[in-house]
C-alpha cells in the first residue's frame, strides 16, 4: 500500500494569485470588523476599511466567478487554496476563524456583483448578532436578517460538525504516533548501545508529525492521551514533540520552523538514555541520589547530542533545548547555568509541553498523575513554576481548560472523556466529549458516544454540564482507548 505524501499544492499558477488576494481579503475583512467594532459607521476609518474590503473582493472576482471562503479545522481556504498563517497575519486569521466558529459558518460564498453595501450589512450583523442568542441559532438569525436587508450576493453554509477528528485522520495520526515512538525507541536504544541515531528517519518522523498537526491538530493531540503503550521516555518524547509543534502552530510558526522545533522536542530527553535503567524504571519514589541522576539528564542529553554528528553539523539547537528544558525563565531550575545565558524560545515551548505531559502522565517514579485541568491551572497560576506565561496561555488556547483526554463526571452522572475543545472560544468549559459510562453506570462501547456539552434541550438548558474532573483509572477507564 502506498501512502501519498504530497507537496503542498495547487493545480495552477492562479493559486499564487488566490493566496495573495485571499490574504488581502481576509486582512481587509478583519480590519473592517475591528473598525466597525470601535467606531461609528460614518467614521472615516470605517468607511475606508469598507472601501478596501470591497476593492479586495472585486480584485479577486475579476478572475474568479465567485469566492468561496471555507473554514476547515483551523484553516481558511479561498476557492480551495489554503491561506498560510504567519505571525504577521496571525491576529486577523485568529479573529475571523473565531467569528466563523461562533456562527458555525463553514462556508461563505461571495458571488459576482457583491456590493459594498452588502459587506457593510454583513459585518454589522456579524458584530451585533454575535452578542445575542445561542450559538446554534445565530446562523439562522444572521441569515434571516441578511435576507431582510436584501443581501443577495452572499450565501452562508453551516459548518459540518467535526466532532474531534475523522476516522481517516485518526488512523493516520495513530500511524504517525507509532512511527514517532518507534523512531525514538530506536534512537534511545542506539544511544544506550553507543550507536548514533539514524537522523534521516528521525527527521522524517518529525516531518510527519508536523504534517499531521497541520492537517488535523486534534487527532494528533488526542494521541498524547495514549498511555502505557511503550516505555515512558519514548511516548513522552513523542508527546512533547506533538504538543510543541501544535503550540508552535498556535503561535504562528512557519512549517520549517515547526520542523526545527519538533526536532528539538523529540530529542529533548535523549539524555535519559544515559540514566541508569534501574533508576528510570524504579517503581516508587526516588531517593536523593537517584534524583540527582535524573537531574543530570539535560546535560547528559546535551553531551550526547554533541556526539551525534555523522555527516552534518552538530545539532546545536537540539543541544540547547535538551540542556535548557528544565530551566525556568529566571534560569533557576536545573542544570545550573554559570555563564550568561538567555533561555531560547524553543526551550520555553518544549519546557511547557514537557511540564504538561510529564505532570499528566503516570510515570514509574511518580505515584499519581495530576488531572490535566489542574496541571494547566498550576502552570498558569504559579509563577514559581517558571514557565513563559505567553506560551502557557497558548497551550490553554490550544487544548482548552479541559484538555483532550480529561475524564469528567457530568451532572447527568454520566462519565465522559474530553475529545476536543469547543470550537466556540466563549464556551471552552463545554468541550466535545465521548460518553464512556452512562447514567446507570454501564460502560458505553468504544469509542463512546460523542456529544457536545454546548447542546441544549427544548427549554434552553444545557443537556449536560461538567461537575467534576475525576481520575479515570478509578472508574476503570483508559482515556487513550478513546483515541486509538
Amino acid at each position: 500500500m502506498t501512502q501519498p505524501t504530497e507537496g503542498a499544492g495547487g493545480s495552477s499558477a492562479s493559486e499564487g494569485h488566490l493566496r495573495q488576494g485571499g490574504r488581502s481579503l481576509l486582512l481587509a475583512l478583519y480590519t473592517a470588523l475591528r473598525s466597525l467594532k470601535i467606531y461609528p459607521l460614518e467614521n472615516a476609518t470605517v468607511q475606508k476599511s469598507l472601501d478596501d474590503l470591497d476593492a479586495s473582493a472585486r480584485a479577486l472576482l475579476q478572475t474568479e466567478v465567485e469566492l468561496e471562503i471555507r473554514m476547515a479545522g483551523d484553516f481558511l481556504f479561498v476557492n480551495g487554496t489554503r491561506l498560510r498563517v504567519e505571525l504577521d497575519n496571525y491576529a486577523s486569521f485568529s479573529h475571523i476563524l473565531a467569528m466563523l466558529q461562533a456562527f458555525e459558518i463553514g462556508v461563505l460564498h461571495v458571488h459576482s456583483g457583491m456590493e459594498r453595501r452588502e459587506w457593510q450589512i454583513l459585518l454589522s450583523l456579524l458584530l451585533s448578532v454575535s452578542q445575542q442568542g445561542e450559538t446554534d441559532e445565530r446562523l439562522e438569525v444572521l441569515q434571516d436578517r441578511l435576507d431582510a436587508a436584501k443581501v443577495t450576493h452572499l450565501e452562508l453554509e453551516r459548518a459540518q460538525a467535526e466532532g474531534g477528528s475523522s476516522e481517516e485522520s485518526r488512523h493516520q495520526a495513530k500511524r504517525v504516533y507509532a512511527e514517532g515512538v518507534a523512531v525514538t525507541r530506536d534512537m534511545v536504544s542506539g544511544i544506550r548501545l553507543g550507536r548514533g541515531p539514524r537522523l534521516k528517519r528521525v527527521k522524517r518522523a518529525v516531518q510527519l508529525v508536523v504534517d499531521q498537526v497541520l492537517n488535523n491538530e486534534m487527532s494528533m493531540v488526542g494521541m498524547t492521551t495514549v498511555r502505557d503503550y511503550d516505555e515512558y521516555t519514548f511516548t513522552h518524547s513523542v508527546n512533547v514533540c506533538i504538543f510543541s509543534v501544535a503550540l508552535g502552530r498556535k503561535l504562528g510558526f512557519s512549517k520549517v520552523q515547526l520542523y526545527d522545533l519538533g526536532m528539538t522536542a523529540l530529542l529533548h530527553d535523549v539524555g535519559k538514555a544515559r540514566v541508569p535503567a534501574e533508576i528510570l524504571n524504579k517503581t516508587g519514589s526516588l531517593d536523593e541520589r537517584e534524583w540527582r541522576f535524573i537531574q543530570q539528564h539535560p546535560w547528559l542529553g546535551a553531551l550526547t547530542l554533541f556526539g551525534i554528528r555523522a555527516y552534518e553539523e552538530v545539532p546545536y539547537r537540539s543541544i540547547l533545548v535538551a540542556h535548557e528544558h528544565h530551566m525556568k525563565m529566571d534560569l533557576t531550575g536545573y542544570p545550573k547555568a554559570i555563564r550568561p545565558r538567555t533561555l531560547g524560545m524553543f526551550s520555553r515551548i518544549v519546557s511547557v509541553a514537557d511540564g504538561f505531559d510529564a505532570a499528566t502522565t503516570r510515570r514509574v517514579y511518580s505515584t499519581t498523575p495530576i488531572e490535566p485541568d489542574q496541571v494547566l491551572k498550576e502552570m498558569w497560576d504559579n509563577p514559581k513554576r517558571g514557565y513563559d506565561r505567553v506560551v502557557v496561555k497558548a497551550l490553554i488556547n490550544l487544548i482548552g481548560i479541559y484538555p483532550v483526554g480529561t475524564c469528567v463526571i457530568l451532572d447527568t452522572l454520566e462519565v465522559a472523556i474530553v475529545a476536543a475543545p469547543n470550537p466556540d472560544t466563549q464556551q471552552l468549559n463545554r468541550p466535545v466529549v465521548r460518553i464512556a459510562v452512562d447514567a446507570d453506570g454501564a460502560t458505553v462501547p468504544l469509542p463512546g458516544n460523542q456529544v457536545s456539552l454546548a447542546e441544549k434541550d427544548e427549554s434552553g438548558a444545557y443537556k449536560r454540564s461538567i461537575v467534576k474532573v475525576t481520575n479515570p483509572s478509578r472508574l476503570g477507564l483508559t482515556p487513550g482507548d478513546y483515541f486509538v
Binding site: L320, N397, T443, D481
Partner: protein, 538 residues
C-alpha cells in the same frame, strides 16, 4: 532537465552555463504546455513515463534522473504550467543536492523537498512508515474494567456529590487567557526572531564550559574535552572564529576556575591554544582568513588571533607582508604588536634566528614598539649576511636609541653596505651619539681610506656637526675657508658638506664662519652656506 541537472552539478548558480541551462529547461516546456497544462510523470527505476509511454530511459544509475527520484521513494511527479519559471529550477537543484548525499546523511530527497512547499509541483512518495514502526495497539481492554454497573454508578454518584473541588471554571481565569493580544503577538514575533538570531554555537559551547566547571567527575570532563577537541578544528574549518576564540579564552579560564583538574586535563585544555599557535596551523588560519577577508570576518578573526600564544609570533610576522587584504593586515599588525610587546623572550629568540622568515618583520617591530629589552638580540642581527636585515636593524636601533642600541649603530658605520652605513650615520647623528665621533671624524677629516660618494659624505658631515658641536668648529672652518696657493684647499663638494655641518652646530661662531663664506665664488658652496644659514636662523 537532465542536461540542466548536469549543469547544476558542474557549475555554480552565477555561472552563465548554469543560467543558460535554466533558460533551456524553460524553453523546453513551451511545446509541452501547448499540449497540456500539467505534466504527470510516473517514476520508475530507469524510466519516466508520461501517459504510459517512456519519455526518459537511462539504465546507468549514476546518470539516471529516474533513479535519482526512484531511489528515495518518489513514484509520481506532476509539474504544472508555470512551474518552470521558479519552482522547477529549485526542484532540479534539490534533486542534484540529494543525489550526492551519502547513505548515512541526515537528509534525502523526501526530507529536502518537504521544506520547499511547492505550489506548482506535486509529488508522491511511497509509504514511508517503517515496518519497525508498527501499529499502535488497540484499546487496552473493556472500558470500565470489571466493576459492576451498579457499583460504578454508586461511585460516580458519590464523587459527583462531593464538593466539586478542582473544576476549573471559566470565570476563574482571565477572559483574555484564550487569545493572544497584540502585545503578546509582538513579543512572540520578537522572541522567535531572537531564537533564529541566537548565537547557538556560543550558547552550546557554554554548556560544555559550564559542565567542565560544575561536574568534577573525571569521566564527564574527559568527555567534554573530547567533544571540544573534535569540535575545535570544525569551528576553524567553518570559519567560526568567534567560537574558536571562546574555546581558547574559556580553556584559559577553566584552568583557574575548575577545581581538581587532573594534570592531563589541564594539558588538554592548554592544548587548544598550543596547537593553534603552531606555525603550520597559524599559517593555515591566516591563509584562510586572507581568502575570506571579503566576508567581513576580520573582527571575529581578531578575537581568535588575540588569544594566540607567543609561539604564533613568528608565523604571524612572516605572513604579514604576504596578506592581500589591507584591513586584515592592519588587524594582524595590532595582534602582532600586542603579542610582541608581551613576550620579549620570544622576540629575542627570534632575533637570534638568522634564517627565520620573520626576522625582518621582528626587527622592524622592535623599533616601532620601542622594545628596549630586545637590544641585546641585535648583536647578531647587525652582522647578518643580508644587507636588508642589517639595514632594518640599523633603522630599528636608531628608533630605539638606547646606549646599547647606539653602540651597535656605531659599529654599523663601518658596514660594507652603503645604505646600511648611511642609515647608521644618520642614526647616530640624529641621536648626537658622541661614542660614534671617532668613526665619523675619521671620514670627515679625510683620515678614512674608504671612498664615499657625495650623499654619504654629506651624511657624515651632518652627523659630525650634530655630534661634535662647537668642538668641531675649527676643523670645519679649515675645510670651508682654508685657501691653497691658487684656490681653495678643499673641493667645492667637501666645503659644501662642511657648510652643512656648521649649520648643524647652530652657535654664533658657526654662523660667523658661514657668513664669511656667504659670498663664496663657488655656486655649490654658496648655496650650501645659504641653506645652512637659514637653518641656523630658524
Amino acid at each position: 532537465m537532465v542536461k540542466a541537472l548536469r549543469a547544476f552539478q558542474m557549475y555554480l548558480p552565477n555561472n552563465p552555463i548554469y543560467q543558460r541551462a535554466i533558460q533551456n529547461v524553460r524553453s523546453a516546456f513551451g511545446p509541452v504546455w501547448a499540449a497540456t497544462d500539467e505534466l504527470h510523470l510516473h517514476v520508475g527505476e530507469s524510466d519516466l513515463l508520461w501517459e504510459e509511454h517512456s519519455v526518459y530511459h537511462q539504465l546507468n544509475k549514476n546518470e539516471s534522473l529516474a533513479w535519482s527520484l526512484f531511489k528515495d521513494g518518489m513514484r509520481e511527479l506532476t509539474i504544472y504550467k508555470g512551474a518552470e519559471a521558479e519552482e522547477l529550477p529549485r526542484l532540479l537543484a534539490t534533486i542534484n543536492q540529494a543525489r550526492f548525499l551519502p547513505a548515512d546523511a541526515g537528509d534525502d530527497l523526501l526530507t529536502l523537498l518537504w521544506a520547499l512547499e511547492f505550489e506548482q509541483i506535486k509529488y508522491r512518495f511511497i509509504d514511508f512508515f517503517s515496518e519497525a514502526g508498527g501499529e499502535l495497539p488497540g484499546p487496552s481492554g473493556t472500558a470500565g474494567g470489571s466493576a459492576s454497573a451498579e457499583a460504578r454508578r454508586a461511585q460516580v454518584a458519590q464523587e459527583a456529590a462531593e464538593r466539586p473541588k478542582g473544576v476549573v471554571e471559566l470565570e476563574e481565569v482571565d477572559s483574555t487567557l484564550y487569545f493572544l493580544d497584540e502585545e503578546e503577538i509582538g513579543y512572540l514575533a520578537r522572541e522567535l526572531e531572537e531564537e533564529y538570531r541566537r548565537d547557538f554555537r556560543g550558547s552550546a559551547l557554554n554548556v560544555l564550559f559550564d559542565l567542565m566547571e560544575t561536574q568534577p567527575e573525571g569521566g564527564v570532563r574527559d568527555e567534554v574535552l573530547g567533544v571540544l577537541e573534535q569540535l575545535f578544528p570544525n569551528l576553524l574549518t567553518s570559519r567560526d572564529f568567534r567560537s574558536a576564540a571562546a574555546v581558547l579564552r574559556e580553556s584559559k579560564l577553566l584552568k583557574e576556575r575548575a577545581t581538581n583538574l587532573r594534570l592531563e586535563q589541564t594539558q588538554r585544555l592548554e592544548g587548544f591554544v598550543t596547537r593553534l599557535s603552531e606555525p603550520a596551523i597559524v599559517g593555515q588560519v591566516l591563509q584562510s582568513l586572507d581568502e575570506a577577508s571579503s566576508l567581513g570576518l576580520d573582527e571575529e578573526a581578531a578575537s581568535l588571533l588575540r588569544e594566540l600564544r607567543t609561539s604564533a609570533l613568528e608565523p604571524l610576522v612572516s605572513w604579514l607582508p604576504n596578506l592581500s587584504s589591507a584591513p586584515l593586515r592592519q588587524m594582524l599588525e595590532g595582534v602582532v604588536d600586542k603579542l610582541a610587546g608581551s613576550s620579549i623572550n620570544e622576540v629575542q629568540r627570534l632575533l637570534r634566528q638568522p634564517d627565520s622568515p620573520a626576522l625582518l618583520g621582528i626587527v622592524a617591530i622592535c623599533g616601532r614598539l620601542q622594545l628596549h629589552h630586545a637590544v641585546p638580540g641585535f648583536t647578531d642581527v647587525i652582522s647578518h649576511s643580508d644587507p636588508a636585515v642589517r639595514l632594518a636593524a640599523v633603522q630599528a636601533l636608531g628608533q630605539l636609541g638606547t646606549p646599547g642600541a647606539l653602540t651597535l649603530l656605531d659599529r654599523a658605520i663601518d658596514d660594507p653596505d652603503r645604505s646600511v652605513r648611511l642609515a647608521a650615520v644618520r642614526g647616530v647623528g640624529t641621536r648626537g651619539y658622541k661614542g660614534a665621533l671617532r668613526r665619523i671624524e675619521a671620514v670627515v677629516l679625510g683620515k678614512s681610506s674608504r671612498g664615499v660618494d657625495l650623499t654619504e659624505k654629506m651624511a657624515f658631515f651632518e652627523a659630525y656637526g650634530s655630534i661634535a658641536g662647537a668642538a668641531g668648529l675649527k676643523a670645519l672652518s679649515t675645510i670651508l675657508l682654508q685657501r691653497g696657493l691658487l684656490k681653495m684647499k678643499e673641493s667645492p663638494e667637501t666645503r659644501a658638506c662642511a657648510a652643512v655641518a656648521l649649520g648643524r652646530i647652530k652657535t654664533p661662531e658657526a654662523r660667523d664662519l658661514l657668513q664669511r663664506a656667504a659670498e663664496d665664488k663657488d655656486l655649490v658652496v654658496r648655496n650650501a652656506v645659504n641653506r645652512a644659514l637659514r637653518g641656523v636662523a630658524s
